[in-house]
Subunit: 342 residues, 2 copies
């Protein structure tokens, strides 16, 4: 491969495949419009544990276990786990990997972590560093709110731009085995900062990074929006999605009917009290590995570009008066039957 | 490459090289025995900034800038930055990457992050995903103490097993260009937990992971301890180093005079009030990129195995009664003249 100066995209000539995916979600997600597509809907936020944190890591363990089981493998066959979550010191994936006994690379890109993990797992498999690599993320409404904003018990009011952190976990098993869905590109984003300082407006903080990563992906890959059946951002939700569309229009890139956002798809905003929509690492993971993978397998979607978006919000730097930068990483998924196309 | 089941080691046939390294340290590290080997010693912990956090990220920016400069390049030539730090939400590397405008993959492995970043940078260069990748980490005594234990202003007493977080940053530029030092192996560790619950005894929490990763590395690579001139753990310090030696003795692996620990080397424990020794992401980074690289370039050390060690301590899970798991990742460095040897 001859790298262009400034290229941000890894191309995978060996077309590593997602041989299995698994999704575990919380009760609110289970009442949403995508409920039919999840592997497991848990009854309550605690999932039989003593704390939300223990519940979150338990969901990740279950998701990884289900993905391995769905592939008909045992966990000893998994070479590496590339994983992350939103909690300080990545306690969800660290404790999950401890119990799973799979070698771990811990990743943090806020809510962009799913694309980061999936892209790195694909890179490991494509480069023959692994035969089986698992990408996993988790998030939880209760753990996130108390870490990033206020404990939910405090009952603070939320503005319409606020998003609702998805309770759930998604795991994708990437392998050197042919399967329906393969990963062809991984575009690694830059940290962008337009000076947003409101921790209840993550969509606005992330949209510029999503627009930048999409443009970079199109430039690097030589593709156009029309080469995709769907371009899917991670969790911009209603406020960020609107900004994303405006930014792409300013860049003269027509998104037309090809674009949607996982944060807008996961809940029914009319019926569920989720404000602008969903967010959290698990948002893009469970939407991608649930309904999107299902539609790709059935041939309803051929090529999908997932642009997972992360608001690099930190309570500490926020309290020190700093703004909230954003980052977005993109992973191109493709039905294996399309091999040889552009 | 035919992967063995359970192998945890990536082998790099293209022998990616460290074409430049840079180290920035704080005043206490600058008074330590390795002072002559650092690129920059800052005068005070604030480094001209308003907060320790701003100081820490500023050090990382300086270290990356110096590494790029030492290689005679401009930062536009750097494809990707693989970086991490100890602060919640990785605010040091996120803000540094924002200002540097280099695409970022954020990593968290506590104090093992330097080996994780260096190993991934080597993997990216070896697999032709990047021509130039920078691995960077930072830590800071002031930011770490207040996040993980107590603010230093509180004046809490520290037991002899406590370690002193290194203030500093190290950056290594890995490239597809021949240079004196190359990276041949990357062993990715498992999360191990022997039930340590004392946040002032990180060495005991990390030593089992270091011993496990070393044994795994030797098994995967077919190497013996004697194939290395130095085996260097990241920051076990005096307490953990002793446990590491005992664990290796139990495993019948003779470490003899080949073994040392960055946390023991960085300070003069007789003269400086650092208790068991140094810790923090920057500890293994500045020792490796300072004195070790210097000795390798001069031919005094041919092969070095760095095993960076991380205590996955979280104030939240600690307060919830959980233990402190550990992880260790290893990177094998080699003088380029040794090519073809075992």
């Amino acid at each position: 491969m001859q790298r262009k100066l400034g290229a941000q995209t890894l191309v995978f000539p060996n077309r590593p495949c997602i041989i299995a995916g698994a999704t575990v979600v919380g009760p609110e997600e289970g009442e949403g419009p995508l409920a039919d597509y999840y592997d497991l809907i848990i009854d309550d936020q605690l999932y039989g544990q003593k704390s939300w944190e223990a519940s979150e890591r338990s969901m990740m363990k279950t998701a990884v276990g289900l993905a391995v089981e769905n592939a008909g493998l045992s966990k000893e066959r998994i070479d590496f786990m590339l994983a992350g979550d939103l909690l300080n010191q990545l306690v969800s994936c660290n404790f999950a990997a401890r119990d799973l006994e799979i070698p771990l690379l811990g990743l943090y890109g806020a809510c962009s972590t799913f694309a980061q993990a999936l892209g790195l797992a694909a890179a490991f498999v494509d480069a023959d560093y692994a035969t089986h690599a698992i990408a996993a993320v988790s998030s939880h409404y209760g753990t996130s709110e108390r870490q990033f904003r206020f404990p939910t018990e405090y009952g603070g009011q939320r503005p319409p731009s606020a998003q609702h952190t998805v309770t759930g976990s998604g795991a994708a098993l990437v392998a050197q085995v042919k399967a329906d869905i393969c990963i062809t590109h991984f575009t690694i984003g830059k940290v962008l900062d337009l000076g947003i300082k409101d921790p209840y407006d993550m969509g606005s903080a992330m949209a510029p990074a999503a627009a930048d990563t999409l443009q970079r992906h199109l430039l690097d890959s030589g593709r156009k929006v029309d080469d995709y059946d769907l371009i899917l951002t991670g969790d911009l939700a209603a406020v960020g999605k609107k900004i994303m569309l405006e930014l792409m229009q300013q860049a003269s890139v027509q998104m037309a009917t090809k674009y949607d956002d996982c944060g807008c798809l996961i809940y029914d905003r009319e019926r569920q009290q989720v404000f602008a929509g969903g967010s959290g690492c698990a948002c893009s993971a469970v939407v991608t590995l649930g309904p999107i993978l299902n539609k790709m397998k059935k041939g309803e979607l051929g090529r999908v570009l997932l642009i997972a978006t992360g608001a690099l919000l930190s309570p500490l730097t926020y309290q020190q008066g700093e703004s909230i930068p954003g980052i977005a990483h993109a992973v191109a998924l493709e039905h294996s039957s399309l091999e040889g196309g552009n």
